[in-house]
Assembly symmetry: C2
């Protein structure tokens, strides 16, 4: 199955030689030729030649007039984000956000599959459904969106980024080593796979509350707990793709706290959504909370959101559950701050919505336990992009892989194309 | 005071335009013009023009013949590291390592000041002495070394890298905000200041046991404990220059463990050299170790090295002290591994020499407490460069700042020169 839009009449387009130009034009939005020459260190002739190439392929256009520096005002060059599109899917434990974006990563259409995609159904089923949604999104948009340039998939588990394979994911049975990249091979465009917290961190850094920050920690507190790390403006993935797997930092030696990873005392087992729900069921059962007991009797199950609701409505046991969980998360964040000294922490994931007392208790513990110098300019904020965060981050990651140069060619991850067929 | 070698006859040399070329030539050692054109994405004419400029200024020379690809074998270009020199000084709490290196960071001469430089004497005294040693090293070498290109200073405290100032250093009284860069202004070359653990991490990554690794943690266990982090091949300094300040991670709630930073229960207070010595004095005092008691009676003081010696000679109490300290360090490293997923941990600093049981206990705790995926390919090794590690790292840092391009011009740290007078 080859997407028709990706099989245009142009031959393979050599990206390496134009990456430095595109990168600068993307970063500045609009830029004059003189500034482009200065910023890239390329000669006037080379810039002229390559800009002509980019204009011919539709990636760059002449835009508005810039400021005159004496003579005639220069015509600015701009990146034509509308010259093509990207397809991205951010998979969660039980649902997915799927989007079609332009080449600047702006979301043109988004589809939320909140509950119908249980990741445990296995890769063939889930990715097959994602491919159907991709095709629906493309059909809705027709030919107005230009050719497909790349695909990005976010998953809730560790990823070997160079091969696009999920490695030993604790909550994705059947996915270990599954060739996700090859699954979408029919599109004839490059496919990148990344961890969900990583792309959320990138999303907030590019388009959300962490914009302009070089060092950012995004902590996702949902059913599980994980973090995405932006260091020196890049995603830090680590040697095995499991950097930021902070849910399994040990916070208690209590042998009764067994984590789904098999270890004892992980922060996720106590302060993740499932952990909070478990503690709430205990509080309902042993009579500490009549409110929780009532909900449990009515619905047969309790969630972290129920605990947040009860805490907001004056239930003392729920306030304690929320505060205890937040203190554990705050302690882990204090360690992260001492180690990484970020300028911004963004808190996302379902549990982050349980209410202000949760964030307040996180902040209190974090400030109390961090090195003062590391917190003198630290900002802590809830995620601003919500359900769009992951797909925005995925599109930014794919666009970076397509259009950013790295410092040296050999640093390019394996599997990154030096040319694409468009 | 202006160094004569830095006031050559050439006018300011615009580095920005040649950085991409120098960077590739430095990385490859020797490279043909065709490969240089391919690697930089620059045109043949631009490469020819700029290489001629670099040859004229002595930074690049024609070297050996490369491999023929059919026609005449190409003459390879090589970076002339001997075209100039760098001066670097790595300050410790009580001593300093000072070196003169070539532009590739190879140490041409090194001076160890083991005990005569107590950092508490204040910046004017210490840096004045460093300047004297710089001049002695230059005089010994005469004019054979070419002009001075840059200066690097390593300090045992947090550094604001963009200004070169030390920020609230706990063990450097009188140094807060001292303008180190301006102190060396008379040399007329750029000056960079960095944290000692950061440059040690870079030293091992470029020239020691961590060569080829992208993500490296260097942990320095001396009087205090600190770490240097290499992420994606770069030093991660953090927003306030205190990334890697892991000595102040809390490992016990015991209120009797007071750290010099003022907080309670820091790992440094128990497992740093001073902490081990304090525990040893207790063990000598309460009769747990006759061996330590004997040394204390003879010398009036105990050090971590004494504990290591006693442990190696069968003293059970000393073995316990070493093992306990190592387990605490191992626990902190396990957290770092879960967060950062490095491929290499290098252990350095005076306390790392107390013996094999220390490293064995660190390893045991680290593997027991880390996420299995994060340790499947993790290497852990003692520092191989020893006393040269800091100065090698400093020279590499200065050479990087001079000759590496960043992804975009605006990402250059403030204070990095776009031109230098040579």
């Amino acid at each position: 199955m080859r997407d028709e839009r990706s099989a245009g009449s142009l031959s393979a387009f050599h990206l390496d030689s134009v990456r430095p130009l595109i990168e600068v034009i993307r970063e500045f939005g609009s830029i004059s030729r003189s500034d482009l020459i200065e910023r890239t260190g390329l000669s006037r002739a080379v810039v002229g030649h390559r800009v002509a190439d980019l204009v011919e392929r539709g990636l760059v256009a002449s835009g508005n007039l810039g400021e005159s520096t004496g003579g005639r005002a220069p015509r600015l060059l701009r990146f034509r984000a509308e010259a093509g599109h990207l397809l991205v899917a951010d998979l969660g434990a039980t649902g997915a956000e799927v989007a079609l974006t332009d080449l600047a990563g702006r979301v043109l259409a988004q589809r939320s599959e909140k509950e119908d995609l249980d990741v445990a159904a296995g890769p063939e089923t889930i990715l097959g459904r994602i491919r159907e949604i991709f095709e629906e999104l493309q059909q809705e948009h027709g030919d107005a969106i230009g050719p497909l340039w790349g695909i990005g998939i976010g998953v809730p588990g560790p990823v070997e980024f160079t091969t696009g394979r999920v490695i030993s994911p604790p909550i994705m049975p059947g996915w270990n080593q599954f060739p996700i990249r090859e699954f979408f091979g029919g599109y004839g465009v490059p496919v990148w796979v990344d961890n969900d917290a990583n792309v959320m961190a990138l999303g907030e850094t590019r388009a959300g509350c962490a914009r302009g920050h070089d060092s950012v920690i995004f902590i996702k507190i949902g059913t599980g707990i994980g973090a995405g790390l932006i260091m020196n403006r890049r995603i830090h993935r680590g040697a095995d793709g499991c950097a930021g797997d902070v849910g399994h930092i040990q916070v208690t030696a209590d042998p009764n706290v067994v984590c789904r990873c098999g270890n004892i005392g992980c922060v996720e087992a106590l302060a993740g959504g499932a952990g909070i729900a478990r503690s709430a069921e205990q509080a309902a059962g042993d009579g500490r909370s009549a409110m929780l007991k009532g909900i449990l009797a009515e619905r047969g199950v309790l969630t972290a959101a129920d605990v947040g609701w009860c805490a907001a409505h004056g239930d003392q046991a729920s306030v304690e559950l929320v505060t205890n969980a937040a203190r554990l998360v705050g302690g882990v964040l204090a360690t992260l701050v001492n180690v990484l000294n970020p300028s911004m922490i963004v808190i996302g994931g379902g549990v982050s919505h349980v209410g202000d007392p949760f964030l307040a208790a996180i902040r209190e513990t974090l400030y109390g336990r961090s090195f003062p110098l590391a917190t003198r300019a630290l900002a802590i904020q809830p995620s601003t992009l919500g359900d769009t965060c992951g797909v925005i981050g995925l599109a930014a990651m794919v666009a970076d892989q397509l259009f950013s140069r790295e410092i040296l060619g050999e640093w390019l991850p394996r599997g990154r194309p030096s040319a694409v067929a468009v």
